[in-house]
Structures are given as structure tokens and as C-alpha cells.
Amino acid sequence: MTADCLSETFQALADPTRRAILARLASGEASVSDLAAPFDMSLPAISRHLKVLERAGLIERGRQAQWRPCRLNGEGLKPVFDWVAEYSRFWEQSFDRLEAYLEEIQSKDASDEQH
């Protein structure tokens, strides 16, 4: 399974405000004040959330001094989506075995009843 690098990503995602910010950025880049508008939160508080997202590699910020637009970083999101493939394999194979096991114990019960 994947290494520790996912922890920072997940920690960044484990907050409803930050998830809402990412959802907003999915429809295009935005300034800090654009992003702050839907929240009852100060600009410094929003900036702190943006720093967490930036550190986790989930967003990038423009370099213009006054208007530093934020945008999603697809590369940063990729590990989150790769995670799914790994667990999918684990569970599918477990379900195959569960299916066979249930069949086995039921046919055993049935033959026990006949004797």
C-alpha cells in the first residue's frame, strides 16, 4: 500500500472548509477574497486553510503581488484517486473468497442436516 506521503494530503482534506475551497476551485481559479466570500471567516483564517492546501500540494498560487489567484493542482490530487484502485483490489478479492466461503459453510450445514 501507499506510503506516508498520503497522510498530509488526507489531513488537508479532512476539513469541511478546505474541501469546500477545493470544490470551488474545481470550477476555476479564484482570489482569496472570492474564496472567503461564502464563509463566515476572516481573510487570515482562509489564508491559513490555503497554506495547508498549498503545503499538501493540492493547490498552487499565482505569483502576482496583489492578486494571487489559487488554482487546483491535479498532480497533488492524483494520489487520492490512486488510493481507490488499491482498496478496490483488496475488497474485490476478499468478496470472491467470502462468496466461496458462504457457499461452503451452507452446503456443509445442508449435508449435516441430512445425516
Partner: protein, 156 residues
């Protein structure tokens, strides 16, 4: 054996959703999910060998599955039960470590069992992170707020 199966990835793919129709009564499927002597018979994938499973089946109780992998590593999957509603629902957190210091972030699993004409429909939802809040009120807000992210990643 005549069983149907479907597998799908939800968008956004931050939650994994799997379903399987099982030809067995729901009470038996629930037992297979909750009693260690049954669990060890099916739990794991091709790389996992014998499983040692301990289970404290109560809300707040822990489970632990220790597996020797084919590459020689010992891998442990562990978590805490958040909800136990026999025989239809189990919610538990899911973490892992490989015995060498690598640890995975905590994720959340919801297992739902529904009775069907032919047996039991198993639905498993595995979400890409968990927190104490999720354990108390899991599922709120996470899927909805990220709906568009899946579309975004699909465009890359």
C-alpha cells in the same frame, strides 16, 4: 452458482463503492463479517497469507488483522467500530501499518447488508479518510462538497 456482481467507482473517486449479491441469508453474512473464526477464512487479497484477527465487537471496540505478506512484510490493518447494527450495518475506521514505520491515514468503511429475493446484497463504502467527527456523524458533507473534483481530475 448463480450470483450477480457489480463494481463501480463513485465520482468523485474519493469514496470507493462496491456491491456484491451473495447467495446466503443476511444473518449468516453478518456473522461472517463479525466473528473472527469466519473472518479469517475470507479476509485478504492474493498477497496476504494467513490472517490473525482479533475483534472487540462493540462501539468503540477495536479490531486488528495481522497478515504476513508474500513479500515478507508483516502488515496490520486495524480500526475501531463506530456503529454496529446487527444484522444490517457495520461502520468502522481503517488504518494500517507495515511494521516498518509506514502508516496509512485513517479511512472509514461502511458495510450495509440488505435482504434480497436470492440472499443478501452487500454494499461496501470505503471513504478516503476518517476523523473522530466522521465516526460520530459519518458521511456528512464529504461527498457533496467534492462532487466537482472528480470531474476536474477526469479532465487532466
Amino acid at each position: 452458482m448463480d450470483s450477480m456482481e457489480t463494481t463501480e467507482l463513485e465520482t468523485p473517486r474519493t469514496a470507493l463503492l462496491l456491491t456484491r449479491d451473495l447467495a446466503a441469508p443476511r444473518a449468516l453474512v453478518f456473522k461472517a463479517w463479525t466473528q473472527p473464526e469466519h473472518i479469517v477464512r475470507w479476509w485478504g487479497c492474493a498477497e496476504t497469507g494467513d490472517v490473525k484477527f482479533t475483534n472487540d465487537l462493540r462501539v468503540g471496540g477495536e479490531f486488528s488483522a495481522v497478515m504476513k505478506l508474500s513479500n515478507g512484510q508483516t502488515h496490520r490493518i486495524f480500526g475501531v467500530y463506530c456503529k454496529i447494527e446487527a444484522p444490517e450495518r457495520l461502520v468502522f475506521t481503517w488504518s494500517w501499518d507495515n511494521g516498518e514505520g509506514f502508516k496509512g491515514g485513517e479511512t472509514l468503511v461502511t458495510v450495509t447488508l440488505e435482504e434480497t429475493a436470492t440472499g443478501t446484497k452487500l454494499t461496501l463504502r470505503h471513504e478516503s479518510f476518517a476523523s473522530e467527527d466522521d465516526c460520530q456523524a459519518h458521511g456528512e458533507g464529504w461527498g457533496a462538497s467534492l462532487e466537482r473534483l472528480g470531474d476536474f481530475v477526469a479532465t487532466l
